[in-house]
């Protein structure tokens, strides 16, 4: 084999500086995090809340979090997998589901802080840009949107969740530039289009397209919708019902979890410090005892 000079020598590893753990994992953007968390020093211990939205392949996570040195503290969280409780069983990661999750989180937060009567938010989702008006008694709950690492293009689902939280009554500084339905040419938000997206209109039109052009593909793609009996027309009223159900009871429900099963152990369990010392003492004693017996025999030989 040809002589290859070692690329990563010992010296390379000695000088290598690892990035922060969450940066190595590619999960946290520290530049953005510093700016989101930094609280004015003359506000001392006042928490600064972030409205965190993250998307997985099959779920949406929305949380209201504040940061401390010991770790971030979650004030309230809402997941898309909770939406079946409110009547939405399919399409849990689309724009409309993101809106529902944001709305659920907002109502939940306001309920735990007992502000839900003062700040009802926007009861009828019209897609227009809505900001909470401060009421007489308390100022609205303020949080800052934390998108994480995703690309903030116009019409991204994260802004659907933002819209849900805004309509739910949270005060989140924003602009309507990135809502679905904002057109770059006219530099205006088309509230109608945005409303369509909030009520799953874009999904409905695709369903209708497929039903006409490729019925087999429709059956495979929207099989779970078909099983639940959801047609393109009744999506809007389904979402209206879900919104009403969310506003009626946003409290989180504790899920019953069995304690995890005890599995058979296939490898040896690691011993504790005391156990290892005890074992060593036993071995030495055994050795001494055996040596004592041998010594009497050996002595005659050595001599």
């Amino acid at each position: 084999m040809a002589f290859v000079k070692a690329q990563k020598t010992k010296a390379y590893f000695k000088r290598f500086q690892v990035k922060f753990k969450r940066r190595r994992a590619g999960k946290t953007d520290y530049r953005a995090r510093i700016r989101l968390i930094n609280q004015d020093k003359n506000k001392y211990n006042t928490p600064k809340y972030r409205f965190v939205v993250r998307f997985t392949n099959k779920d949406i996570v929305a949380q209201v979090v504040s940061a401390t040195i010991a770790g971030d503290v979650v004030l309230a969280a809402a997941y898309a997998h909770e939406l079946p409780r409110y009547g939405l069983e399919v399409g849990l990661t689309n724009y409309a589901a993101a809106y529902c999750t944001g709305l659920l989180l907002a109502r939940r937060v306001l309920k735990t802080l007992e502000m839900d009567d003062e700040y009802q938010g926007n009861l009828e989702a019209t897609g227009e840009d809505y900001s909470v008006e401060p009421a007489d008694s308390r100022r609205p709950f303020r949080a800052l949107l934390d998108v994480g690492l995703l690309k903030t293009t116009t019409g991204n689902r994260v802004f659907g969740a933002l819209k849900g939280a805004l309509d739910g009554g949270l005060d989140i500084p924003h602009s309507d530039k990135r809502f679905a339905g904002f057109s770059k040419d006219s530099k205006q938000l088309d509230a109608e289009v945005h409303r369509k997206y909030i009520y799953g209109g874009h999904v409905s039109s695709y369903m209708m397209n497929l039903m006409e052009d490729e019925p087999e593909k429709y059956q495979t793609h929207f099989s779970r919708y078909v099983k639940k009996g959801l047609e393109a027309d009744n999506l809007e009223q389904l979402y209206k019902k879900v919104h009403a159900a969310i506003r009626a009871d946003p409290t989180a429900k504790k899920s019953e979890k069995q304690p995890p099963k005890q599995h058979k152990r296939y490898n040896l369990k690691k011993l504790t410090y005391e156990e290892r010392k005890a074992k060593l003492i036993e071995r030495l004693n055994a050795l001494n005892a055996a040596a004592g017996a041998d010594e009497d025999d050996d002595d005659d030989e050595d001599e």
């Binding site: 530049r31 510093i34 968390i37």
Partner: protein
């Protein structure tokens, strides 16, 4: 070219980040709170260019006299000629660490308050003053054997045997 005397002159090593600690600063720097009257150490973080103190103050400890949005006002002693002036500087929080110089005093205050409260409950009078270490108490020397050592008379003959 003559030597420059700018604000950051001769700070190549002083303001350099430590080995393998370059890059973003960790978040706890930004999450700490400082109250007026606390003691802080000024330690420059070379990667944050705003709100840097002058190199003189690197390594100094002072008291907080002001808290603004992103910075802390620190009062530091500086010897100017034949006197010491209390200088008030403003420093961003990245260049400041809470000082442990006062930690022992604060712990002692807490402990003393607790002891005084207990004594009051029992009706006893205690003194919480610190006492300096006194002279060691006397002790008996154990396990010593006495060896008397006497000088031997000088023997010229034997000593010169080695050569002279």
């Amino acid at each position: 070219m003559p030597a420059g005397h700018g604000q950051r002159a001769r700070t190549r090593d002083l303001f350099a980040r430590p080995f393998r600690k370059k890059g973003p600063t960790h978040l706890s720097t930004y999450l700490r709170i400082y109250k007026i009257g606390e003691y802080v150490d000024v330690k420059v973080n070379g990667s944050i260019h705003k709100g840097m103190p002058h190199k003189f103050y690197h390594g100094r400890t002072g008291r907080v006299w002001n808290v603004t949005k992103r910075a802390i006002g620190v009062e530091v002693n500086k010897q100017v000629g034949n006197r010491i002036i209390k200088k008030r500087i403003h420093v961003r929080v990245e260049h400041v660490q809470p000082s442990r110089c006062h930690e022992e005093v604060l712990l002692r205050i807490k402990k003393n308050d607790q002891l005084k409260a207990e004594a009051k409950a029992q009706g006893k009078i205690i003194s919480t003053k610190r006492k300096p270490e006194g002279p060691k108490p006397g002790f008996m020397v154990e396990g010593a054997t006495l060896e008397t050592v006497t000088p031997i008379p000088y023997d010229v003959v034997n000593d010169l045997k080695g050569g002279y």
